[in-house]
Symmetry: C2
Subunit: 436 residues, 2 copies
């Protein structure tokens, strides 16, 4: 049986894992597919550094054209990462009539439309299971498993670095900086962790999930993004007293109107499964109108978990090549993208419940002044903790609210932060009470 030839661009961590599976598990793959998959070329600027896989001679090249220009190669795996030259490589591969597998969430979040249009124009497919949540087959889940479901809401823990740091802060009560340093030591965080801890990576992945769930091409700028670098362990402890755990969540929902798209630290009920997702693990909670609650859990990063997802895409494409089934599923699962340009609801119009921590002077009447201002802005309080004696002249007053509107909260806090009895900035964390 004729083999399917594959070219790989990018021989870093994931790339070496992909080569390892394609070579060491060739038997398994041939048994699944009915024919072999042949890794024909690997292009990388660095062909010197040893990788943890034994390659047959002649596979490695510095020239990307050895992959893109080889007419025998039907599937190109792009694992360069970032916007350029990854975008150019992918577009060139598509123009040459090659199918593409990529794990590049940044590329798809920013240039997805251009890439998918190029794929359609050339009658080839772009698969990207590894771009979101690593080993978890959530892309397939949304593209094919949940096609008959309207997605009411979707919550994701999509960044292992942030989740590792939050888990450490929660379990050990340490500050963000210390947890980050440990994550860096263990190789779970990069030297510049901004992308991960400030929620940018999570937003890229959310943009892709929204495309799949709602057929909506969302601009990254229209996703509200807050990271975890400003989190104080004291709020994790107060959350616990209220029965909550803090996670960095990607949130999207639709209740008939516009969709919500936001990334921020969120308080979740401690008994919800997402609250038990610890360390570098990822998870996605999806609520479908027919399915009800679903949860997908697994490793969101790492050489082999991600490589396994990449190779699954390669096998899917090889199966499509065998049966001539290119274009079987639209890249984002939607054949018709009516309303694809609709923007998500602005953050100011979002309604949710809130946690506030005020640093207030320990004087009579303070609580009444704070709750008075909140009330004037239609924000009602569901729980309060006020305890401890003053530290530097101020005590924490901690509150949970009933559902309120973000714009009202912003206005109320601006007013409260100007009160003479409130010191410093008030801490605001959103609470997710739909996860009961």
């Amino acid at each position: 049986m004729s083999s399917v030839n594959v070219g790989l661009i990018g021989f870093g961590t994931i790339g070496s894992g992909v080569a390892k599976i394609l070579i060491e598990d060739a038997d398994l793959i041939e048994n699944k597919l009915g024919r072999p998959i042949n890794l024909k070329k690997i292009a990388d600027l660095d062909i010197e550094t040893p990788r943890p896989v034994q390659l047959p001679p002649g596979l490695l090249t510095r020239e990307v054209k050895d992959v893109l220009g080889d007419p025998d190669i039907g599937i190109v795996i792009e694992l360069v990462g970032g916007y350029e030259p990854a975008r150019t490589f992918v577009l060139e591969a598509l123009a040459a009539g090659k199918h593409v597998v990529t794990a590049n969430k940044a590329l798809l979040a920013r240039h997805g439309r251009e890439i998918f249009e190029a794929a359609a124009a050339n009658h080839v497919d772009v698969l990207y299971e590894a771009a979101v949540a690593g080993a978890i087959p959530i892309i397939r889940g949304l593209k094919e498993g949940l096609t008959a479901n309207r997605i009411d809401y979707l919550f994701g823990i999509l960044n292992g670095t942030s989740n590792y740091i939050l888990t450490k802060m929660t379990r050990e009560g340490v500050e963000f900086a210390q947890a980050l340093a440990e994550a860096q030591e263990r190789g779970y965080a990069e030297a510049d962790p901004t992308f991960d801890v400030e929620g940018v990576d999570t937003a890229h992945k959310l943009a892709i999930l929204i495309g799949l769930a709602y057929g909506l091409q969302v601009d990254l700028d229209d996703i509200h993004v807050e990271g975890i670098s400003g989190l104080d362990p004291i709020d994790i402890r107060f959350a616990e007293e209220f029965g909550y755990v803090i996670k960095l969540l990607a949130i999207s929902s639709q209740d008939g109107g516009r969709i919500e798209a936001r990334v921020h630290p969120t308080m979740l009920p401690a008994d919800h499964l997402l609250s038990d997702v610890n360390g570098v693990f990822n998870a996605i909670h999806v609520h479908g109108h027919a399915a009800g609650d679903l949860l997908f859990y697994g490793r969101g990063a790492g050489r082999m978990p991600t490589a396994g997802a990449v190779v699954a895409d390669v096998i899917e494409l090889a199966r499509a090549i065998r049966t001539g089934a290119a274009g079987r599923v639209p890249p984002m699962s939607w054949a018709s993208t009516r309303g694809a340009d609709l923007k998500p609801r602005p953050m100011s119009e979002v309604e949710t419940t809130y946690y506030f921590r005020f640093s207030a002077l320990d004087k009579p009447g303070v609580l009444s002044r704070i709750s008075g201002v909140l009330g004037e802005h239609r924000i009602s309080i569901s729980a309060v903790i006020q305890k401890g004696r003053e530290q530097a002249g101020a005590v924490p007053i901690v509150m949970l609210t009933h559902e309120a509107r973000e714009s009202d909260v912003r206005r109320a806090l601006d007013e409260l932060d100007r009160l003479d009895v409130v010191r410093g900035r008030t801490v605001v964390i959103r609470v997710e009470d739909r996860l009961r």
Copy 2:
């Protein structure tokens, strides 16, 4: 755009949910697919009883030939259940060149090979996402998401009725009979619950998962099956003292040699996610050599969750019809089924850890006699609880073992149950320590 015509056989709970989605969510489906899906006929012996869906006139028929004999119908949904006449209907549909969607685990577990061979011979597909774990897309997960993974082991909570009963026994300390009665009252258990509570339904589903994970057609008779009807709440409480929760698990694993295939009440570490799967929910924990740990969680039964999975299969087939991609993925994911006739390891050769509860006379030296007999059979003890004064002359002695072989355990217990200091039958529950 021409529509895809679908016929439904079986208008019960799931069937009415399928009709509801196909009719009420026709817009969503057309947006995904790019063309409409048209539910053309529904065959059921009972066309009188009202169902919770508004049908256009002329859809219902008593005659199954109105579906099977209609050349315009390209996809047949079989929701009759059981072996016959479901088997005949499915084979007739395939012989007529129609694709089939079924949720019938019993049929596939027993007659899967015959049905899949008929599908291949007729160049059509049989999809069955709803046959295992209802709304959870685990079939697709194994067929396409994890194709690049060797499955080291797989644990499933696959029967909502049993899990509901176990959850109730665990939370409320009630006896099996009482928990079952409540499950029946709420419609979670049938009048004759044997299939569910004795593990038969779970074994059917495990047989299907094993086919997907290992390419192995396992005989139902080669799966070791124990149900939950004999469980005593006292063992649930002792499990808790050791840090375990008892679940009815489907277990399969492969460590290079033969696979294991068994269904029985199992003690799981209380902090494992599977231990938090409560009520009627299902979950599958899969460990892949590349992916590591994965968990899929959701509703395993019920009208709409199951119907959503059925309709997802219908959409996949409609996409395949559009692109001429029938036969794209082999029915069990394996193109080559070398070793498909290999039998699972016999239960007597399985090695695991065990929980024993002896009813022993409260006399000096009893513990030493019991542990002596165990030692003679190469069974070593890792923990013991002996407490409480005698009830009816006997006290419970509870033990956990290190890894031991089932045949040794059986021989040791036969010997122990004959000792004059041991009263009644010893309770044996297997412990799953791989789930750490």
